[in-house]
């Protein structure tokens, strides 16, 4: 008669942190007892939504084609400035292409790359993290040394190499960025799985006759999904910046397809006389990354207080 009451005597009936992912997001009122998490970040949510809508409906929203050149209208400043034309709200670049249209289409590429790279890199990281954490032993030791190696890996150099051998394009970009991402996912998820593996329900699943594969799929993965979603949001910013950097360096999407990184790259030579060509996509990147990070921070606090130390 001694081991009872290991649970803290704090507020009774504090709901479990383990509600379903979407339920705990939507069910704003029913969550964690005394909440000290920040309020819902509405401004970032609006900014993210606008950019996503821009990307999805680009052909409907863009006033011009993003690649058609009108050389006679080249390097026009934004409409509100002296010399600007009402037709080109955000001005034009050195080939007379409409910057607003390029920005709208560019959002498509940036978000598509983010989606694909996070699916590929995050997915690989999730699988490796779960296997490494659950199987343990030598498998874990080998996989984690691989993760250590991945952190020291010069991703940018590798991307340049890939661009030379495979040619430029979305495929190259996604592979290069996935290689940059997976290790971080794997490491955090493995830690989570190590803790989960100690929980009795995982041991009991074995007693009930579940195979290791089944335990990982039905008992482990659903319990690390919160963490996974938080990692995804926090990494969107990393991906967008990586895409911009690689495109800027010439290892990304080849011109004339617009991407935000490429737009900065093309405008950098004329930053003194036509600052808007480089600065406007720069501002777009900053706004998106900032919004995504603010949203990710909030999501993290909301879903998993343990991740706060990261």
């Amino acid at each position: 008669m001694a081991v009872a009451e290991q649970h803290p005597p704090a507020a009774p009936e504090i709901p479990e942190p383990h509600q379903s992912f979407w339920r705990s997001l939507l069910n704003v009122r029913s969550s964690a007892g005394v909440r000290r998490t920040a309020r819902v970040p509405w401004i970032p949510i609006v900014i993210i939504s606008v950019i996503v809508i821009m990307a999805v409906f680009a052909p409907l929203l863009a006033p011009y084609s993003p690649i058609d050149q009108t050389l006679r209208d080249k390097l026009l400043p934004p409409a509100w400035m002296e010399g600007g034309k009402d037709r080109y709200l955000l001005g034009t670049d050195q080939f007379g292409r409409d910057i607003l249209s390029r920005l709208i289409y560019g959002a498509r590429v940036s978000l598509l790359v983010a989606l694909l790279a996070l699916t590929a890199g995050g997915g690989v990281g999730l699988v490796i993290g779960v296997v490494s954490g659950y199987v343990g032993g030598k498998v874990d030791a080998v996989l984690m040394r691989l993760v250590d190696a991945a952190f020291t890996f010069p991703a940018i150099l590798f991307a340049l190499l890939l661009a030379v051998t495979m040619g430029q394009g979305i495929g190259t970009l996604v592979i290069a960025i996935s290689l940059l991402l997976w290790a971080g996912f794997a490491r955090v998820i493995r830690g989570e799985v190590l803790a989960l593996r100690q929980r009795d329900f995982v041991q009991l699943a074995r007693v009930r006759g579940c195979s290791s594969l089944r335990i990982m799929a039905t008992h482990i993965v659903p319990n690390v999904l919160n963490t996974f979603m938080v990692l995804v949001t926090l990494n969107i910013g990393v991906v967008i910046i990586a895409e911009a950097s690689l495109s800027f360096l010439g290892a990304g999407i080849p011109p004339p397809t617009p991407t935000w990184g490429l737009m900065i790259s093309e405008g950098r030579g004329r930053i003194a006389e036509a600052w808007w060509v480089a600065l406007i996509p720069g501002i777009a990147i900053t706004l998106l990354v900032l919004s995504v990070n603010l949203f990710g921070d909030w999501l993290r606090d909301r879903l998993d207080p343990r991740l706060r130390q990261l």
């Binding site: 008669m1 001694a2 649970h7 005597p9 507020a11 009774p12 009936e13 007892g33 005394v34």
Partner: protein, 327 residues
């Protein structure tokens, strides 16, 4: 305990509530008891009955922002400590009143040696030269039966067993010679033979120091071994209070009776246990009448209408029940 013994701690009509978005959790809702000099008073109840929160209220160590004492008086040695400022409270804690918690693992800081942690407490009590303090630390460890204390003061908590750590926690708690020690389930995390060692130690220290102990537990066995008097808590209130012998031999409140009856015994028949059906009420939505009414075998209409007053049963024995004397 004789009636004439002086009161050291007097808690009157204490209400400590949690304030959540969803509502108010009345975790401690009208608790009154007195602790006399040199006695051990047991505070018994199930998890969520408010016994630990009562202790934290007395220490004034409630979780910030969540729980608040909204009503009542806590009179320690003649002064209402609810009126003291936080800095005055820091002076009171450790010297007049001290606390031992359930888990020795979390009570000690893993990055400091045992000696460092004892020194901190000793220096606060009476600043002295390092050599002198080390001597005191060794003496303090010896007092709690730690073998080879000279070596132990250089060790870190992880180098000690659970029972030893809990004794170190005890040594720190009593280093300021407090008049009141609150022990919140101090043996729950220990093995049974180690638990017995620790209880014997506490009892010896209490006799040596003449301090009063408020002993919080869910285990009637521990109460029988340790306490002079016992207060039984249910859903935020004390439902019965009296000398240990009387509570065990003639419990008056139906809850106390049912609880004692439901514990498996070491002697007698091994038949079916008399279980208490149902669950305690939600502290957010307490019933108007007696809180035990929904689980009580003797319930009648008035039990559901109003909370019963406190009935005096013996000289030192009270219970909150409408039907005292008729069941």
């Amino acid at each position: 305990m004789s009636d004439s013994a002086e009161t050291i701690l007097d808690v009157r009509d204490l209400h400590t509530h949690f304030f959540l978005r969803r509502g108010v959790v009345k975790a401690v809702d009208g608790v009154s008891f007195t602790l006399r000099k040199g006695e051990v008073l047991g505070l018994v109840g199930e998890s969520g009955c408010g016994k630990s929160l009562t202790a934290l209220s007395v220490m004034r160590l409630l979780p910030k922002g969540a729980a608040r004492t909204v009503q009542g008086e806590i009179v320690l040695d003649g002064e209402n400590i609810l009126k003291r400022t936080p800095s005055q409270m820091r002076e009171i804690r450790g010297r007049k009143i001290s606390m031992v918690l359930q888990d020795p693992q979390t009570s000690l800081n893993p990055v400091f040696t045992i000696g460092d942690q004892l020194r901190e407490a000793l220096v606060r009590r009476a600043p002295a030269k390092l050599k002198e303090i080390i001597k005191q630390a060794v003496a303090a460890l010896r007092r709690v039966d730690i073998a080879a204390p000279e070596q132990r003061i250089g060790q870190y908590p992880h180098q000690m067993s659970g029972g030893m750590k809990q004794r170190v926690v005890g040594a720190i708690a009593i280093s300021g010679e407090p008049e009141v020690l609150i022990a919140d389930e101090p043996t729950t995390a220990l093995d049974v033979t180690i638990q017995l060692q620790y209880l014997k130690l506490l009892k010896r220290l209490q006799r040596e120091n003449g301090m009063a102990i408020l002993f919080i537990t869910h285990d009637f066995g521990v109460v029988a071994r340790m306490c002079d008097r016992v207060a039984v808590m249910y859903a935020g209130r004390i439902v019965e209070c009296g000398p240990v012998k009387q509570i065990f031999e003639a419990p008056s409140h139906p809850y106390t009776r049912a609880l004692i009856a439901s514990v498996p015994k070491m002697t007698g028949t091994r038949g079916r246990l008399t279980a208490i059906d149902g669950q305690p009420p939600s502290l957010m939505n307490l019933p108007a009448g007696c809180r035990f009414a929904s689980r009580c075998a003797h319930v009648e209409p008035r039990c559901l209408e109003a909370y019963p007053g406190t009935t005096q049963i013996g000289a030192d024995h009270t219970a909150d029940c409408w039907k005292i004397g008729s069941i």
